[in-house]
């Protein structure tokens, strides 16, 4: 899992606010002597982290912006082209397609795991409180800890002509729909999406389940007395109670979808044709295989902006709900 951002924890925020008042009073006493010295020492504590961050994140970030304004093959002299690379990213069909593919992946990587995870967590919470619940938690979480590359290789096998998926389909009499799922123009993207579901479902389920175990049981009891059914209970109590964690699920998985690389690189390499080409893959191909560093950088900037544009509204919604 990438270190994707989630929302601020509501409970944490409240407790910190409560603790802030006494702290401020106490802190005033020693601050009167040697404020300057303390400031310098404090900054020295931050400096090493800041240097590494600046050197290997902020500096390359600035360079990406700079590269994106030039035409450069990575070796020879670079030519200033202004915003021409951005114009290409937003107009060349091949590149526009990668942006669309990223959003198609959001459906598989994010919406399905979040929705299915919600249902699965609710089921575990209700019918499997004992050993089955613990076991299913562990098993479902398994794909989350293995390298995504391994997930890609495993599913590359499963979805191949002689793979388990086709074996199963033939077994239930659907022999004529079998195909090389990752090699077919129509099915390659959904097939990659299924790998994403497999990886991310456990994460969403376990996160939401943890949130559900914190719900006050009395809520359910009173709902029962009022004659609420399974679905009403789910809709009126369970979902609102885990809204914040649901937001976290969506945030993490949306980033995983937009910035997908490992799974796609290993299972399809972006093919067939452009069918599963996503920004991450295209950046890699442009920069390191086709030597179009400027264009790759412009696409990288667009990708980073897209992630921010999609994440910020989700963050805002879940933060407000959490308070």
């Amino acid at each position: 899992m990438s270190q994707a951002a989630g929302g601020a924890d509501g409970g944490r925020a409240i407790s910190s606010r409560a603790a802030a008042a006494p702290r401020r009073q106490v802190a005033r006493i020693p601050r009167t002597r040697g404020i300057r010295r303390q400031t310098v020492v404090g900054w020295l504590f931050v400096l090493p982290a800041l240097v590494m961050y600046g050197l290997f994140v902020l500096q390359p970030l600035a360079l990406t912006l700079q590269y994106s304004l030039y035409r450069w093959d990575g070796v020879g002299p670079a030519t200033w082209v202004g915003l021409a690379n951005y114009a290409s990213v937003l107009s060349e069909p091949k590149l526009v397609e990668t942006l669309f593919n990223a959003f198609r992946l959001v459906f598989f990587f994010s919406l399905i795991p979040a929705a299915l995870g919600l249902v699965t967590a609710a089921v575990i919470y209700r019918v499997a409180t004992g050993r089955l619940g613990t076991l299913s938690r562990t098993v479902l979480f398994l794909p989350q800890v293995i390298p995504l590359v391994a997930a890609g290789i495993i599913w590359g096998r499963l979805l191949s002509l002689s793979g388990l998926v086709n074996q199963g389909l033939t077994g239930v009499g659907l022999g004529d729909v079998t195909r090389a799922w990752l090699g077919d123009f129509d099915t390659a993207l959904p097939a990659v999406g299924i790998i994403g579901i497999w990886v991310l479902l456990g994460f969403c389920t376990v996160l939401l389940l943890t949130a559900m175990t914190k719900i006050d049981g009395a809520l359910f009891e009173s709902a029962r007395i009022d004659g609420a059914g399974w679905f009403e209970e789910f809709r009126a109590i369970t979902v609102p109670s885990v809204r914040h964690e649901l937001g976290v699920c969506v945030t993490v998985t949306v980033i995983a979808a937009l910035a997908a690389f490992d799974i796609v690189y290993v299972s399809t390499g972006g093919g067939p044709g452009n069918a599963t080409s996503v920004p991450g893959i295209q950046i890699y191909i442009l920069a390191f295989l086709e030597r179009q560093v400027g264009l790759a950088s412009a696409l990288a900037v667009v990708l980073m902006l897209l992630v921010l544009l999609v994440i910020l509204p989700i963050q805002r919604i879940t933060r407000e709900d959490a308070r």
């Binding site: 802190a27 979480f141 794909p143 590359v149 950046i283």
Partner: protein, 274 residues
Amino acid sequence: MRIARTELYAGRALLLALMAITTLPFLSIFTTALYPSGAAPVGISWPADPQWGNFVDAFRVANMGALLFSSLFIVIAVVPVSLVLSTMAGFAIGLLRIPGARWLLLLFVFGLTLPFEGIITPLYFLARQMGILNTRFAIVLPLIGLYMPFAVFWMRAHFVNLPADVSEAARVDGASTWDLFWRIHVPLARAPIASLGILMSVWAWNQFLLALVLVEDPTQRTMAGALGAFQGHYATDIPLLCAGTVLILLPTLIVFVVFQRQVISALLQGSVKG
């Protein structure tokens, strides 16, 4: 809670089905790994003559000893350094509240959602310029930088919620800021530091993009990076590829099964706090 019998059975059936879907892929890879080299087995089926030697071959061909060493080297070079740097920064921002702490925090938070693809191209040229391209340091140094936003954010979340009494008592006793940090606050922060360590170890072990771009030799890469290279070389010999994949998965799976509580809670907290 009273639960209808049908609901109970339907729910359990759903869980069993999901668990089967999760585990069958692993099983399929495992049985395929036992077929004679070069065979093209179908789905899940037990071979007539299981070739346990495939694992030995894969171990040798993939140079597993060197891979394990390389991955461990990278984890050991990245994680402790990142822990020290981020704990110090989190301490200064969250507890000392140095002037400009808010801005520093914003600066670090800004890097939280950054996809690695966004900066991989300049990282390549920077590594080349620094002369570390194709060495493990080309993975180690950028990873430390890339983990800073999350790690600082995580440690600050711990320090910002501490009551001030502990530090103030020590201050009155004349402890220096370093003593305060090292003697009092680091021992108190053991739990969040341990979780962060688990998280960053898993991430470093599984890091693929940096390894792919910055290091050509698979034996200088992370486990995930090496697996990618292995796939490139042996894509046609399916049983051998599967045997190699199983071997490369094994350390992760063992660690997960042994430390599953810690790993799950670290990964979940990681996403919620981030």
